[in-house]
């Protein structure tokens, strides 16, 4: 479970989140909201990439402030732009990067990389330079680079924004099949219709919280 207690966050003088308290226990959670509503900041708080100005975030009892490293091992994060997430030039090398950073044994790294290449359909790109891949393939690689670390929670920050229709479908199918707890920041309302819970943020506050069947229409209505 991820728990936020009285979270406030500001960038310098600019407040982004105001006194948020949430318990995230569902398997599929969506975070919705307009540009600048604070949803990406909220997502980054969940795995300790950002520490709150006030309040605490705890993942399975681990505080992001004092146990940041352990938290990031449990919570994977997929960014909107895969180009800034891919570190090594070729697909196979990039998949191994996070595993090497975790200092796993070499044979375990090889086993997990081979599994990820097969599972996410990247085997034929194994030795291909990442910069020659299409946007959808890069996004798939970025997602695989996180999933190969086998986190218990995965946060996606607008994973379909830069994708065409076919790749968007591919990513949505992949998300649906994940056994982990998935938290998705998105503008893609169709993607979240079968989620367990959707939060709507506005000016750094939760203005709607519940099943998407209730919160998505409320969000659309608020957009006017």
């Amino acid at each position: 479970m991820i728990e936020l207690r009285s979270i406030t966050h500001a960038y310098g003088e600019r407040p982004v989140l105001h006194d948020l308290s949430l318990r995230l226990t569902e398997r599929r959670i969506a975070i919705l909201g307009g540009n600048g509503s604070g949803k990406s900041t909220l997502a980054r708080l969940l795995n300790g990439l950002i520490l709150p100005t006030a309040g605490t975030v705890a993942v399975d009892g681990l505080d992001t402030r004092s146990d940041g490293r352990a938290v990031r091992q449990r919570v994977g994060f997929v960014f909107q732009n895969p180009d800034t997430q891919i570190v090594y030039p070729t697909v196979e090398e990039d998949l191994a990067f996070g595993l090497k950073a975790r200092k796993l044994p070499k044979d375990e790294i090889a086993r997990r990389v081979a599994g990820a290449l097969e599972r996410y359909g990247l085997d034929r790109y194994r030795h291909q330079p990442a910069h020659q891949m299409s946007g959808g393939e890069k996004q798939l690689l970025a997602i695989a680079g996180v999933l190969v670390l086998e986190p218990a929670y995965v946060i996606f920050d607008e994973p379909t924004t830069l994708l065409d229709l076919r790749n968007r479908r591919k990513v949505i199918e992949l998300l649906r099949g994940l056994p982990q707890t998935v938290i998705v920041v998105t503008h893609d309302l169709d993607m979240v219709r079968d989620f367990d819970r959707a939060l709507v943020l506005e000016d750094g506050r939760v203005v709607a919280d519940g099943p998407p069947a209730e919160t998505v229409p409320a969000y659309i209505e608020r957009l006017g």
Binding site: R72, Q73, T84, P89, E93, G98, A101, K103, P105, G145
Partner: protein
């Protein structure tokens, strides 16, 4: 010049990165020590043998040499004109360096960046007593290689956007948005490295279980 890894099932690809770089160093010393055209000829023959053994497409590898050979010809040509050397000397000097660039290109085309980075991490380890962090240096090397094509794309993108707005050649118009893009990219990359388990505080510790 110095293309990225091109995968093939070949004995050259299977050689350890250290052996390939060590070999390149030895041949470089030999080429520079041998008199006249012999050095260039020897390196050229070795290069041709490696090219065949590595099963790489000759056309693509030789295309990598085009730009440096033009540059070297101009450089040594001017030197010959100004210092009064003959065309034979210019040809030998260009051939020597072209052969060495061919060999260096073959090393990078047949060695995975990760293997190269691991090797450099071990070499940088020798500088640990003077405060060098080998893991950070190695990551810097990997990121440089990875981000060169990406930066090229960013430059092309900004130039196209400028052209679309009627600006053909303006350094400031190129530099400012490019700088903003690079800084944003650096920021996102830092967050992504952290999210993928890279811990800068831990980067200096070598893992004994890795090999």
């Amino acid at each position: 010049m110095l293309g990225l890894y091109l995968h093939r099932e070949s004995p050259v690809h299977r050689l350890p990165a250290g052996a390939k770089l060590g070999g390149l160093l030895l041949v470089t010393v030999a080429v520079l020590a041998l008199p006249g055209a012999w050095g260039a000829l020897t390196a050229g023959l070795i290069g041709a043998a490696v090219l065949v053994a590595a099963r790489l497409p000759a056309g693509r590898v030789l295309a990598e040499l085009r730009a440096p050979v033009v540059m070297l010809t101009l450089l040594f040509g001017f030197q010959a004109l100004l210092a009064g050397g003959g065309w034979e000397e210019t040809a030998v000097a260009v051939a020597r360096f072209a052969a060495l660039i061919l060999l260096a290109t073959l090393v990078t085309l047949t060695t995975r960046v990760m293997d190269m980075v691991d090797l450099f991490e071990r070499l940088f380890g020798l500088l640990r007593p003077v405060g060098v962090n080998p893991a950070k240096m190695a990551l810097m090397l990997a990121l440089t290689i990875r981000f060169i094509p990406l930066l090229g794309e960013q430059v092309r993108e900004v130039r196209m956007a400028q052209r679309a707005r009627g600006v053909e050649r303006n350094i400031a118009a190129l530099f400012v948005p490019l700088l903003v893009k690079i800084l944003t990219m650096a920021d996102d990359l830092t967050a992504a490295l952290e999210a993928r388990g890279y811990d800068p505080a831990d980067a200096g510790t070598k893992n004994s279980t890795q090999r």
